[in-house]
Structure formats: structure tokens, C-alpha cells
């Protein structure tokens, strides 16, 4: 979730209205935003909507609030004059980073606060919306240092310039190897033999996209009053949208925006595009989605407060919004404009039959029987690790779902059985009064080749000085009989049990579980100094057999 910081007095200045902290907090939901932090005049706000980047600036927020508060409603637009300059786009970029959108902003001095706001918006747009600069990245430069026209071209990695904040020239290849930003973003360019740069007519490098600006022309300072902006990227709509959002933000600050021509090999685009889209939406549709009874006039009013244009079933979407895909998006904005709190709730009217999953009754019955035997139920993580599941139990891997991008070894696979988890519980409670009797019922996943089966298992262990094979056999016998399961017991060998003191539970010729006396070497692995007996039953298999019968 993107988070931005700004000063409340700045917001109020942009808004032309005085909001205090409480009023702001009440207004934020219409931007799907929440107040994160307030410290005097400093506000920080986070946004739930990851697809609405124009809001990630105080200017964008003020623009929406102006509509909602009826300060200024209707379709938002800005005045743009032609700069007469152009940016020439190299054909060779079509496979590398084909799209670019630039503009010039003039007439306001950049102060310390504004510089921070510009950097903040640049970062939010490039990091969150621009997929960590892969899809879109942004450069801002003091325009007076640039000799137009600018060319955007693919060049050899051997080209040299002084990167921002450095004192000596480095080649593009060196930047990717040694410069911190170069190392951070090298992966974006790793499959290419030529790299994108912006260069002015004196062959001075403005920036190495999407990595870093140059020290010579790419350093924006307090006091600068003419800015050159570029967005480059791999997705055409997103590149233009980002430039539009930035142009609107600077225009709201009082900058005059000047356009440039983006001269592609096969087309010319005037940038910023400021392109609006039209979408057919009428009050019938909105009313159906929302449950409202808005008339056309009311709908028009609601949408204009969200800064749309509306006329006779057609919505005009402002140029800084790329998130509108479907008329339902417009319906939601109409509802937000009206206020969710202002709708009366409707109850559901259809009759439906409720039911749990078919296995639930059987599973819950088994749990209750173990409780009746004096066992404490536990609930554990499904994620586990192979040391616990196999090594500590003297058992070899019988099919495990393993995680590829492991974060911690403890949680590096999905559990395939439950007995190890319960022994782990015992080992964590060595200081607690005995007897200790615990059980768990839950999901395990067993992998067979490339298929995975989720099974419901139940395991129980009993630990105390006189725990015996008889005890666990009695318990298993009692539970299965009460569940109406006919079973036989057969000899069984498994690394975790004492040889000759383990048995398998067979139902209809199929093994559905086992029980026995835990081997002292396993107890040693868990640091246990008390005899333990335990069982594990595959309830899914038992239930399958029962329902066949």
C-alpha cells in the first residue's frame, strides 16, 4: 500500500479551504485512504487502491477533495502551450524500452518542500505503479541546462558519463556493476546488448533509463524554475498516464506546462497526451449496481464531484485516471460520491440451505472422542520443515510439498503427517506436569510425483511414566469402534517406533493409520525423558471407506 507524507497547510492551500485533522480523516475514505500518522502539520496517509496512482500526491488528493467539497467540480483540465521542442525516439528501442513521454514545466521556483513532494511522487509512481521502474521510470531535470532537441536512443554499454552524485565518468556497463542504483536495477536490462539513454543535442547524457540521471544535467535543485520531465517504459498507456499525472500535479502548483513532440519512427505523439476517454454509462446501470434510484441529473452531479464529465449517458474520464476499465468502476465512484453511509441497507431475500463440508461431522465426532479420553486438542501451523517431519523421526521422506522461495527454514514445506508436530509439542513442554495427552486433527499434504493430495489426519500422543502400547491400542480401539469403523490390527515396522511394538490399522484391506510405542532414539531427538505412545489415522481414507459401505 503506497503511503505519502505532506503538510496539512499545503493541502489546505491547494484546496482553498481549511480542513483540520478530523475533517481530513472523514474525507479520506472517498480516496480509499487512511490516516497513518499525524505530527503537528505533518500528515501521512496510506492508499488501499494500488491502481489509482494520481492520488499518491497531495496535489491529486486536493483535486479530488475540491470536487467532493464542491469547491471545483466537473471534468478537470489544464492549459498546455507548445514548447516547439521534440524528442526523437530511436527505432532500436522498440524491443528494449520503447515508450517515452516528456513535458516542460515553467514559472515556479522549486523550494525544499516542493522538491521533496516531487521526489515522493516520482518514487511512488516508479516503485508501486511502475513495478520498481520496470514498467515505468521517471526523470526530472533543470530544463535550462538542456539543449533541445533531445534524443531517446539505444547505445552501447561502453558509453561514458558522470552519474548523479559521482565525480568521475563511468561506462553504462560499469554503472550496472558498481553503482548502487545500477546494481538495484541491472536486472531490467540484463537481456539487452544496448541500453536506453536520453541525450541532448550537445550529446550530453541526461539520464540512463531506468537507472540514473547524469550529474551534469540531471540534478534538480532548490531555486530551479524550469523543469524537464520524462517518463520511459515498456507499457505505452502507463508511460503517458504517469506523465499526465505529473503534469497535472505541477499545473496544480501553478507551473505552466509546455508540450513536446515525441517523434517515434512511425508516429508523432504530442506529450503530455492529456487524453480523455469516454464511456457509456447511464443511471439505469448505476442504479442496478448500487441499488439506488438516481435520476440522470443527480448522477451527473455525483460524477462531477468526482471530477468526471457527464452528459446523456456518456462519462468523460479525466486524463489522469487509467483505472477505469468497466462501467462498474464509474458506478462505484457514483456511490462513493453519494456516500456509503447514506444508503439504506437491504437484506437478502432468497432461501438457501446451509451445510458444512460432508466430512465435518465425522471429523468433529473423532475430535470429541479424543477429548473424552482426556486428550488436549492442539492447533498448529501447516507449514513445517523436513528435519522435523523425517530426520527427527528416523523416517524417510514419503512425498513432500516444498517451498521454493523459503523465508525461514522452520517453514520450508507443508506438513505431510502430524505425529512429528505433536512430538514437537511434547518437547516444548518438558517442564509441564505429566501425564501429557495431546491430539491434533488437520490437513496434511502428501505429494506423489507431480500430484498432491490433501488429507485430513488425526494424531494423538500420550506421554507419562507408564505410557504403554496397551494404552494407545485401547484408545485407538475405543475411538474407531465409536466411529463405527471395523478394523484389524497387523504387525508394522516404522523407524519412529520400537520394533515389535507398532501396529497398522487396516480397514477394508487398506492401511488407514498406525500406532505404537515411540522409539527411545526418537525421544532422544526431542529431548524427552518420558515414554511416549502415539497414533496417526488418515480420516479421509476412513471416511472414504465408510461412505462406500
Amino acid at each position: 500500500m503506497p503511503t505519502i507524507s505532506f503538510s496539512l497547510s499545503d493541502l489546505n492551500k491547494l484546496l482553498g479551504k481549511r480542513l483540520d485533522k478530523d475533517k481530513l480523516e472523514k474525507l479520506l475514505p472517498c480516496a480509499k485512504a487512511e490516516l497513518e500518522d499525524v505530527e503537528g502539520d505533518d500528515i501521512s496517509v496510506s492508499f488501499n487502491d494500488t491502481n489509482c496512482p494520481y492520488l499518491w500526491s497531495v496535489e491529486g488528493l486536493a483535486r479530488l477533495f475540491k470536487g467532493v467539497l464542491n469547491v471545483s467540480t466537473g471534468l478537470y483540465s489544464i492549459k498546455v502551450s507548445k514548447s516547439g521542442f521534440k524528442v526523437v525516439v530511436d527505432r532500436k528501442l522498440s524491443k528494449i524500452r520503447p515508450f517515452i513521454s516528456c513535458f516542460i514545466a515553467k514559472g515556479k521556483k522549486v523550494d525544499d518542500y516542493l522538491l521533496k513532494q516531487i521526489i515522493q511522487l516520482q518514487e511512488k509512481l516508479a516503485d508501486s505503479f511502475g513495478r520498481r521502474r520496470k514498467k515505468v521510470s521517471i526523470g526530472v531535470y533543470p530544463s535550462k541546462k538542456i539543449e533541445f532537441p533531445v534524443s531517446y536512443k539505444a547505445v552501447s554499454p561502453s558509453l561514458r558519463f558522470v552519474p548523479l552524485g559521482c565525480h568521475e565518468e563511468l561506462s553504462l556497463a560499469e554503472i550496472l556493476k558498481v553503482h548502487p542504483k545500477g546494481k538495484e536495477f541491472a536486472h531490467i536490462l540484463e537481456s539487452f546488448s544496448e541500453y536506453p539513454v536520453l541525450m541532448d543535442s550537445k550529446k550530453n547524457v541526461l539520464s540512463f533509463a531506468p537507472v540514473i540521471n547524469s550529474e551534469l544535467t540531471g540534478k534538480l535543485d532548490v531555486g530551479d524554475d524550469e523543469l524537464f520531465f520524462d517518463a520511459t517504459g515498456t507499457d505505452e498507456d502507463s508511460v503517458y498516464l504517469v506523465a499526465n499525472i505529473f503534469a497535472a500535479a505541477l499545473a496544480d502548483r501553478g507551473f505552466k506546462i509546455e508540450s513536446l513532440v515525441m517523434e517515434y519512427p512511425s508516429k508523432r505523439i504530442v506529450s503530455p497526451t492529456l487524453a480523455v476517454r469516454r464511456l457509456k454509462v447511464n443511471s439505469d446501470f448505476v442504479n442496478r449496481v448500487v441499488g439506488s434510484d438516481f435520476g440522470e441529473r443527480e448522477l451527473k452531479g455525483l460524477l462531477e464531484r468526482m471530477r468526471y464529465g457527464y452528459s446523456k449517458g456518456v462519462v468523460v474520464i479525466p486524463f489522469y485516471r487509467g483505472d477505469i476499465m468497466h462501467p462498474v468502476d464509474i458506478a462505484e465512484d457514483a456511490a462513493i460520491s453519494f456516500g456509503y453511509d447514506n444508503f439504506g441497507a437491504l437484506s437478502l431475500s432468497s432461501y438457501t440451505v446451509g451445510k458444512p463440508l460432508p466430512e465435518v461431522h465425522f471429523i468433529d465426532s473423532s475430535r470429541l472422542l479424543w477429548v473424552g479420553l482426556g486428550y488436549q486438542e492442539v492447533l498448529s501451523a501447516i507449514l513445517s520443515n523436513k528435519d522435523l517431519l523425517y530426520d527427527k523421526l528416523n523416517v524417510s521422506d514419503f512425498g513432500t510439498v516444498e517451498i521454493e522461495n523459503v523465508m525461514s527454514h522452520t517453514y520450508s514445506c507443508v506438513r505431510s503427517w502430524l505425529l512429528p508436530v505433536l512430538l514437537d509439542v511434547l518437547s516444548k513442554n518438558r517442564h509441564v506436569d505429566y501425564p501429557q495427552r495431546v491430539f491434533e486433527e488437520g490437513l496434511v499434504s502428501v505429494r506423489k510425483g507431480d500430484s498432491v493430495v490433501d488429507e485430513r489426519h488425526l494424531s494423538a500422543v500420550s506421554a507419562h511414566a507408564s505410557a504403554s502400547f496397551t494404552e494407545i491400542k485401547q484408545a485407538v480401539g475405543f475411538v474407531l469402534a465409536a466411529l463405527g469403523v471395523d478394523f484389524v490390527v497387523e504387525e508394522f515396522e516404522m523407524g519412529c517406533f520400537v520394533p515389535g511394538r507398532a501396529a497398522k490399522i487396516v480397514v477394508g484391506k487398506k492401511q488407514v493409520g498406525f500406532f505404537g510405542e515411540v522409539h527411545p532414539s526418537v525421544l532422544e531427538n526431542f529431548g524427552l525423558l518420558v515414554p511416549v505412545v502415539g497414533c496417526e489415522i488418515n480420516l479421509s481414507l476412513v471416511l472414504e471407506y465408510k461412505s462406500k459401505k
Binding site: 510439498v401 516444498e402 521454493e404 513442554n429
Partner: protein, 509 residues
């Protein structure tokens, strides 16, 4: 309590000890007189003290015992007697010969000289510049009977100093001064004294024979109990803690959640733990470049790498992503990766189960569905995050559902599951719903707390999976958090605790 009831409530130990207290003060004496162990007497005394029938004291007491000389003299006789025996015939015996004749050592001889002169039992005379000793009449008389010191030393030791008679006390004082004769020790001694209530109880009679203590098969068989009263127990007394078998509290809460949903007409659905990108995200119209789809947010699986997904479904979902296809949308406008969509991962959201149900071909319309599912996220563990947690989610499908039904549904959930009257419903964002809303409830201690989110499934979700559009309200609740509220817990890790003491003592409801 009246005295009769009190008498009936006495434990057999109390019955045996109580009448003895008027005769014996000390714990050890009471033990030997009653035939009980000291610990049993002590328990009886404590219970009696709780009943205000006795007072129990712990006092420092002096005890006197024989020291090495004292023990020796009990065997061989006191030195002064042996000294006088030598003089018995009335001879004058030089001091220098006394040791040899009496078998005493020099020290003893000196002690005897001083002591017996003081008593006037001997005379010390100077003859021919030598000292000689002679017995007196008084001395002869003394010798003929038992010395008070001898009588004292013959007693039973150790003795309580406080219990000595006046005469004994003066002998004790004398002997105490002599070398290694007696040793005095201070012990902390428990003693008991009857209170007036105790005396009344004794007078009333607390004989064992009139009372049934533990009911035994023998007593039942003989019918003895018919002639007796039952001992009354002190039912307020603390007993050792006992832990029976118990369901795990959070799991039990989830059982309750399930039964609640069933009662509200919802049917349960589920899905596999190992999901594919397709069902977990793509079918839910989350673009493949969405930030929640990073390797830093989901656990991808080593094997199987790819899942089997019907290619006809992939085609429809791909078209919705790329261009909106026939849904009325312009889509996300990017090139959909048909290999990536099959990639296996651990389910990151229970909503995957909803997608499967809608695409199953078995969807009932109208219908209500819910799931209580484990989901997995690449998260660092702390008091509010686990990589492995529960979600509840589901949907309501019916022609003509709107945002106002959604608001009604959320209000009902807040009331039914969190007992919350004061709630707030605000706009929300989920890639798969539009309009979307978030539900907050006022918690008495924590203020406004997010309970869950909801929305109307986007046409881009419904149409590719179902083949037609119908309004579906989807919702999800952070059930872990609601469970924590209900159980009074503050740390999410407690929901999955392995601490047996905590599990045994935790409340179930």
C-alpha cells in the same frame, strides 16, 4: 456454623488430635499420643485452627540435654560422691593424695574441693605445712542420700527447660555452670492450645465411631451409615488443579463460526492448499503484474511446478485480462502469460475457493457459500502476522444484488460474528470486486478495528468462469482477529500456541 455441624465436619485426624490437646501441648507429644505422623497432626492442627478450635503457636523453646561429662557421670557417678566416698571413714587425707585415691583428675578434684566446702561437707586444714581434707557430719549425712544433681541427671533428656520445677530449675542452674555437664539448645516448637470453642467441641464429644468418613462399599453393604452421621466437608477448601481433555479454544471458535454460517443458509466450500496462479489470482482478475503477486508475497512450490488447468478456461480468463473480451471492460491491456498462470503456489487467499466454485459448473443460483480456509503469505512472524493463517470468505449469488445488499450483509456479519453494533462501512479496493467496501467495528478497547472486506465480483471475474453475468457479493473476514477478540488474546501466535500450560488453562468460550 453451629457447633454440631462443626463437630460433624471434623476430619478423622482432627478427631484424634483434638481431645489430646488438653493433655499435650507439643506436636511431638500429640503425635506419639495419637499414633499419627507429625505431618498428619500438623494438618489436623491447621484445619482446627482454621475452624478456630485451637490456637497454634510456634515458639522458641530451650531444651536441655546431657553433655559429654554429664553422660559420663550418669554412668560412673558424680565426682563429689566419689570424693566423699574416699573421706567416708573420717581420716584426714592430704590434698595431694586425693586424685590418686578417688580416681578423679586434678580438675575434678579442684571442683569438688570448692563445691563441697561451699556445702560445708568437708573441712580443709593445714597440717605440717600440708593441706589435708576431712569429712564433716553434714558431709556424712549428704553421702547417705541421693544428691539433687544426681536425681536431675537421671531424668529423661532432652528436657524442656520451661517444664522444670522450681527445685529442678535451681539444680539446672548449678549444673549448667559446670564444665561439659549440660548443653542447652533452642528449638522452634509447634504447640497447640484449645480455644473455648475447642473445649466445647471436646465436651460435645468428637469420637470417630459416630461418624462416617469416606463412604466405602463395606459401609454400604453393612448399612452402618444408617446409625451414623456423615462427616461434613469444607467445600471451600482448595484442591489441586485438574486438567481434563479439552478442545482447542480457537479451533472451537472456528467450529462455532461454521455452525453460524450454516444456520445463516451458507454452504461450505474448500479447495487445495497447493493452488495455481490461475485460481489464486488470474481467475480473480488480478493482473499478472500486480504487486501482491511478487515472490515476496506468495510461497511458490518446488514440485509440482505447474498445474493442469482446462485450456478453455485459461483462454477466457486471458481474454478478460488482455482486452476485457465480452465483459464490457477494456481489461488490463497487457500480454497474459499462459505458462505463469499454471505456476503452483500455496494458496494466498481463500477467495481462490470462491473462484473454483463459480467455475465448477455446479454453482447454485441463488446460493450462499462460505469457506474457512488456511492461507499462506510470505510474512515475517510477529504479534499480528503469521505466514500460515485462517481466512473466512465466501459469496452470495443472486439476480439483482446491489451495493445496498452488500451493506446489509456486512451489517449482519458484524452483528452475528463480532457482536458489534457500532460499525462503519467505507469504500475499499480489491482487484476482483467493484464496488468494494471495508467493514470496521468499534472495539471497546482498541477503537475502530477492520473486520473484513467485501464487494461485488467484477464482470471480468464472473463471466469467464460462469459463462454469463450474475451479481455476486463476495466477502472475506479476518477471522483470526475476530477470534482473538472473542478469546481475549492480544497476540495472533497464541491462536496456534504449543504451550501446554496455556492450552490447559485457556478458556474455551
Amino acid at each position: 456454623m453451629n457447633i454440631k455441624k462443626l463437630a460433624e465436619s471434623l476430619h478423622p485426624f482432627e478427631r484424634r488430635v483434638l481431645p489430646l490437646i488438653s493433655k499435650y501441648r507439643f506436636l511431638s507429644d500429640l503425635a506419639s499420643a495419637s499414633g499419627l505422623k507429625e505431618v498428619e497432626v500438623m494438618r489436623a492442627l491447621q484445619w482446627l485452627q482454621n475452624k478456630k478450635a485451637v490456637e497454634v503457636f510456634t515458639e522458641p523453646e530451650e531444651f536441655v540435654d546431657l553433655d559429654s561429662n554429664g553422660r559420663k557421670y550418669v554412668k560412673v557417678g558424680l565426682p563429689e560422691r566419689r570424693f566423699l566416698e574416699v573421706l567416708k571413714k573420717g581420716e584426714e587425707i592430704p590434698v595431694s593424695k586425693l586424685a590418686e585415691k578417688s580416681g578423679l583428675n586434678k580438675d575434678e578434684v579442684n571442683v569438688c574441693l570448692g563445691l563441697l566446702r561451699q556445702k560445708g561437707a568437708i573441712l580443709l586444714l593445714k597440717k605440717d605445712s600440708k593441706f589435708v581434707v576431712k569429712i564433716t557430719e553434714k558431709g556424712l549425712k549428704l553421702l547417705s542420700s541421693e544428691f539433687p544433681e544426681e536425681k536431675f541427671l537421671k531424668g529423661v533428656f532432652p528436657r524442656d527447660v520451661a517444664s522444670l520445677s522450681k527445685d529442678e530449675r535451681s539444680v539446672f542452674d548449678l549444673l549448667k555452670k559446670r564444665k561439659k555437664m549440660l548443653v542447652v539448645d533452642v528449638k522452634r516448637i509447634k504447640s497447640a492450645k484449645l480455644t473455648s470453642l475447642g473445649k466445647k467441641l471436646v465436651d460435645l464429644g468428637v469420637k470417630d465411631e459416630t461418624i462416617v468418613d469416606s463412604l466405602t462399599p463395606e459401609i454400604l453393604r453393612s448399612g452402618d451409615w444408617k446409625k451414623k452421621n456423615f462427616r461434613r466437608y469444607d467445600v471451600t477448601i482448595n484442591v489441586p488443579k485438574f486438567f481434563g481433555g479439552k478442545l482447542q479454544s480457537y479451533r472451537y471458535f472456528l467450529d462455532w463460526v461454521r455452525s453460524k454460517f450454516v444456520a445463516l443458509g451458507f454452504q461450505e466450500m474448500n479447495g487445495p492448499i497447493v493452488e495455481s496462479d490461475f485460481w489464486d489470482m488470474d481467475a480473480l482478475f488480478m493482473p499478472q503484474f500486480h504487486s501482491a503477486r511478487d515472490i515476496h508475497d506468495a510461497y511458490y512450490v518446488k514440485r509440482p511446478k505447474f498445474a493442469d488447468i482446462p485450456s478453455s478456461l485459461i483462454k477466457k480468463v486471458k481474454a478478460a485480462h488482455e482486452s476485457g473480451a465480452n465483459t464490457g471492460s477494456i481489461g488490463w491491456r497487457y500480454s497474459f502469460d499462459v505458462e505463469q498462470t499454471k505456476r503452483c503456489l500455496l494458496r494466498t487467499q481463500g477467495t481462490a475457493c470462491s473462484a473454483r466454485m463459480i467455475g465448477s459448473g455446479k454453482l447454485e443460483i441463488p446460493g450462499k457459500y462460505f469457506g474457512i480456509t488456511r492461507s499462506f503469505r510470505y510474512d515475517v512472524i510477529d504479534a499480528t502476522h503469521l505466514p500460515d493463517f485462517y481466512q473466512t470468505e465466501g459469496f452470495v449469488v443472486e439476480e439483482g444484488l446491489s451495493l445496498r445488499h452488500l451493506i446489509g450483509l456486512l451489517r449482519m456479519f458484524a452483528k452475528e460474528f463480532a457482536d458489534a453494533d457500532e460499525i462503519r462501512i467505507v469504500p475499499g479496493y480489491f482487484p476482483f470486486t467493484e464496488p468494494s467496501a471495508e467493514l470496521f467495528a468499534k472495539h471497546s478497547k482498541l477503537g475502530w478495528v477492520e473486520l473484513g472486506g467485501a464487494g461485488i465480483f467484477r464482470p471480468e471475474v464472473v463471466k469467464p468462469l460462469l459463462g454469463k453475468h450474475v451479481s455476486i457479493i463476495a466477502w472475506g473476514m479476518g477471522i483470526d482477529r475476530i477470534g482473538m477478540f472473542k478469546l481475549g488474546l492480544t497476540d495472533i501466535r497464541q491462536l496456534f500456541s504449543h504451550d501446554l500450560t496455556f492450552l490447559r488453562e485457556e478458556r474455551l468460550v
